[in-house]
């Protein structure tokens, strides 16, 4: 009788121990799952933010292309044709500022001369965009643009070539 009572108590002890083990392992698993999901979400949001900024830079570049194309076409590069972009000319360079956000697009515009005759054709020499407090360029490069007039003999040409 005494022996069976002892066995019963031992059984209860073992069961409790097992329950505690199960609880501990399940807690560990759930916490790990949560941490993994949170980390995954953070990474996704980081990527999302980067793609957003890149898209915005592309918007500015396309706007700049439009502005300078219009300027070339009209033969009056001193005028900003696209209403959404503020343009500040300083000699042969221009700074385009977009009103959409805190970023700034800088466009260098080069005067093209052909056999000593100045043509009213301008190019985007470089386009860069960055965050105000970030030294790393978000979007940067030399781009194709018209150099041979418009529209009949116009073609896209990389200015590095």
């Amino acid at each position: 009788m005494k022996k069976s009572k002892q066995s019963f108590k031992m059984g209860v002890g073992v069961s409790l121990l097992l329950i505690i083990l199960v609880v501990i392992s399940m807690t560990t698993l759930s916490v790990l799952a949560l941490l993994s999901s949170v980390n995954d979400l953070k990474l996704t949001q980081k990527r999302q933010a980067y793609i957003k900024e890149l898209a915005l830079a592309t918007v500015h570049y396309e706007s700049a292309l439009f502005t300078v194309n219009e300027a070339n076409h009209a033969g009056d590069p001193r005028q900003a044709f696209y209403e959404g972009v503020a343009i500040d000319w300083q000699g042969d360079t221009a700074q385009l500022t977009s009103p959409f956000h805190d970023y700034m697009a800088v466009v260098g515009v080069v005067r093209v001369t052909d056999a000593g005759i100045e043509r009213k054709s301008y190019e985007i020499a470089n386009f860069a965009e960055w965050e105000a407090d970030d030294s790393l360029d978000l979007f940067n490069g030399d781009f194709a643009f018209f150099t041979e007039g418009w529209p009949d003999d116009g073609f896209f040409e990389d200015i590095d070539e």
Binding site: L34, L41, A55, S63, E70
Partner: protein
């Protein structure tokens, strides 16, 4: 004495079961939280991809805004253009709002594309969309 021992055992068992139930409830909540985060992450990633795809398709098409969006399965609404997309049994609404600027040298499509998940009022992802093409619209 024997009765006291039984009561103690019962109390001990009850406490153990209560502790187990409480732990199970907490653990279940943590699992549900993890699942929600996982779904949120998937939704954000898919919405981002959908927006990127839409912008890339728009830039590649070199067509007028109306022509591109109509051919790509969007319907015109008061706000702009909308399209329903289902990915992994989740329903998204792609919405484009923007304008077409026609100049002498070309056309600039400028706007914003957003992906809404299952009728959420806030977009899961939104980004600027722009496309300039010189001369007239493509075929």
């Amino acid at each position: 004495m024997k009765r006291d021992s039984s009561s103690l055992l019962l109390l001990e068992m009850t406490l153990a079961v209560l502790f187990f139930a409480l732990s199970a409830a907490v653990i279940l909540q943590v699992f549900i939280g993890a699942h929600r985060k996982s779904v949120q992450s998937e939704v954000v990633a898919t919405a981002t991809l959908l927006c990127e795809d839409a912008v890339n398709a728009m830039r590649a098409s070199q067509r007028e805004m109306d022509v591109f969006f109509t051919r790509d399965g969007y319907t015109k609404t008061d706000r702009g253009y909308e399209k329903q997309v289902t990915v992994n049994d989740r329903r998204y609404t792609l919405s484009f709002t923007g304008r077409e600027h026609r100049g002498e040298a070309g056309v600039l499509i400028l706007g914003e594309i957003a992906a809404y998940y299952a009728g959420d009022p806030e977009p899961a992802h939104s980004m600027g969309a722009a496309c300039f093409y010189a001369g007239g619209a493509g075929p």
